[in-house]
Assembly symmetry: C2
Homo-oligomer: 121 residues x 2
Amino acid sequence: MSNLRELPIVETAAAGVVPCCAPLAREPLTAPDAERLAVMFKALGDPVRLRLFSMVASHEGGEACVCDIQDVGVSQPTVSHHLKKLRDAGLVTSERRGTWVFYKVVPEVMATLSGLLGQKV
Amino acid sequence: MSNLRELPIVETAAAGVVPCCAPLAREPLTAPDAERLAVMFKALGDPVRLRLFSMVASHEGGEACVCDIQDVGVSQPTVSHHLKKLRDAGLVTSERRGTWVFYKVVPEVMATLSGLLGQKV
């Protein structure tokens, strides 16, 4: 998967996280890889943030702005705060369009995390 | 996947977490599901704990005791502490055999998390 290092979408991730690594069931993580990946899992380790991430991921085109997100039981500034945390962890990218900032999932990163927890073959 | 509710291995998970949910890219999580799943992601959100989890997962039979784990740069009591946290989150189960407690990954839970982050189809 070394060619992923050249994908612009990965280079724009704020935390500079690059997809990596074989499934955990096949071989243990190195300390540096664990450091990078733990940042992502930590970002998903908050119930509100995880739910917001799922709302962005399942929204049309895998992207959404704060204006698309409702009924999560927290204020719009709190939603924005959580979305920025997801961006800082490299799970989503952001782009301003007029009044709103749109957040978009990084499919390669999701695939990496999914593969990491998947079967070893 | 509702038949997973009847698997003993799931019932023994300390946090009582039951695998669930469609891929995030397909539909958003409900608040209760996000609460349960965030506990697992949070447990993986520490670099040392994530590395230990990968060591257990990749060890023979997907299980290991503290005696099998070396060179992680933390003391054996700290390793034990982290393994208990993984157990409390429902990611591993534990079983005492003589002097040692053995920790074993819960394949259904890993598959759930992998599927959650996987493609929507």
